[in-house]
Symmetry: C2
Subunit: 322 residues, 2 copies
Amino acid sequence: MINKLIAKIQKTKAPIVVGLDPMMKFVPEQIRRAAFAEYGETLEGAAEAIWQYNKGIVDAICDLVPAVKPQIAMYEQFGIPGLIAFQKTVNYCKEKDLVVIGDIKRGDIGSTSEAYAVGHLGRVQVGSSLCTAFDEDFVTVNPYLGSDGVRPFMNICKEEHKGIFVLVKTSNPSSGELQDRLVRTEDSSASGEAEARPVYEIVGSQVAVWGAECMPESGDYSYVGAVVGATYPEQGKILRKIMPRTLILVPGYGAQGGKGADLVHFFNEDGLGAIINSSRGIIAAYQQEKYARFGEVGYAEAAREAVLEMRRDIASALENRV
Amino acid sequence: MINKLIAKIQKTKAPIVVGLDPMMKFVPEQIRRAAFAEYGETLEGAAEAIWQYNKGIVDAICDLVPAVKPQIAMYEQFGIPGLIAFQKTVNYCKEKDLVVIGDIKRGDIGSTSEAYAVGHLGRVQVGSSLCTAFDEDFVTVNPYLGSDGVRPFMNICKEEHKGIFVLVKTSNPSSGELQDRLVRTEDSSASGEAEARPVYEIVGSQVAVWGAECMPESGDYSYVGAVVGATYPEQGKILRKIMPRTLILVPGYGAQGGKGADLVHFFNEDGLGAIINSSRGIIAAYQQEKYARFGEVGYAEAAREAVLEMRRDIASALENRV
């Protein structure tokens, strides 16, 4: 799946993943009205609205980008009906041959992480049968519990030819509270002086180690990737060096403040190695002044325009990099 | 809700939470057979089996313990049908007046954590209506993303009188890879010498700060609790001091290796301050030699016996503490 993702990035010339994070305030009036008319202002109504909204966007962008990243929280908040909309979205995107990155940020003790891995990437044993549940292509994983929490995902990825992205340095303002803390390195005592590295470097080094165990039979990138926020380009530059064979999933472009020029540090010299996520900057583009001409009815075309502009922004940043 | 939980702990004399983590290998033959006969070896069949299994256990233990902790991964692995079984389990336990701790270990950037908080503890806006989705009483939260990822849960808890448990030091063998790393403290430079504290102490101190903002109108314990594994009693002792007004949720008793005598450090001198989780040690008690006399058919009574023994074990450890 990592090779498919890289090949699709090369083919579309778009190292872009569209975040399908459908907040109700993004859903155009006409879609909400139709859904509520059918199901009322209920969880089912909300789920129908976000599903129809997603479908419009996916149809408009599926030939332009290699991948989508539905954020499961935006569905889970609507309970079971919301999760059915998540499942439908995953299935529909796979039908359209998009690579689906489930942004689930799970991570737990071993046996529990195994259950998440099985449910989202693998097959679950029921009696003598194997059943599939959510069946994304990649998922995001939280590393706070250490290797026990990550290895079950690695094992399932190996069997199923799928992949993960481990959180290293997240895009949010408070990510530094824990991730930037300076940690004593193991060789501190040897050198006599206490050397220190931030937590995100420690986790990044670990991702590189896990990644080396998880290389596809051919290809340059591991199926253990990393999440590093666009909002922290300096850290991205360092992490790029620490994890040379890691595909970096970069959230935080656009709405969260990351700019095209900041992104170059996340790429390798081959022009690969990173895939940039934009969510509301694309799916709610019609709400920006720049795309207001499309109106609520044209929300999907506005999303398409925003993808094209993002592709140009990244391409020009990569061309002009020093 | 924190006051209700503390009151129920006092009333039942059982600082115990039963982990409803129904792996298929725990479900007795007769329940599996009946579920597969009705729904086949499908996700629906698995979901029916774990729901019937849970129901038996809940009926057998609901008068003995204050709370249950369903681990959502064990349901999520069976996709939508599994999550429907989770929802039914939450609702059923609440009908039985048990406090329900959803072990979901979510945590994300602000707007996304808000969606999780709304979906699991609060109410979600749909048009002009407010709908409830999973509606647990407490959930567990992962702190890797910092305050941004935790505050939305705190805000919803304040509105809804609910609570959270933040992961501090988890029970699994590899928890130390990140959580035990020694971090330079802020006053390092002032003293001239580099002082260092482990990550779990840093997170624990932060939980104490968050907790102080989240005290109920009356009562000694904050509705921001912490997770500290029974398998790390020395760390528990330190964290108990750092977070005096924090209720500590302690997993890892029994199957994971934690013993009664290790638990005393997690309690305050008032005999409160901790609630000990046991999952397979109770729900799969019938598979232990000690309870084999109950057989598969008597799995629920075996669970009841195991709760009674666990209550004695904890009480005797607390009586004999130095």
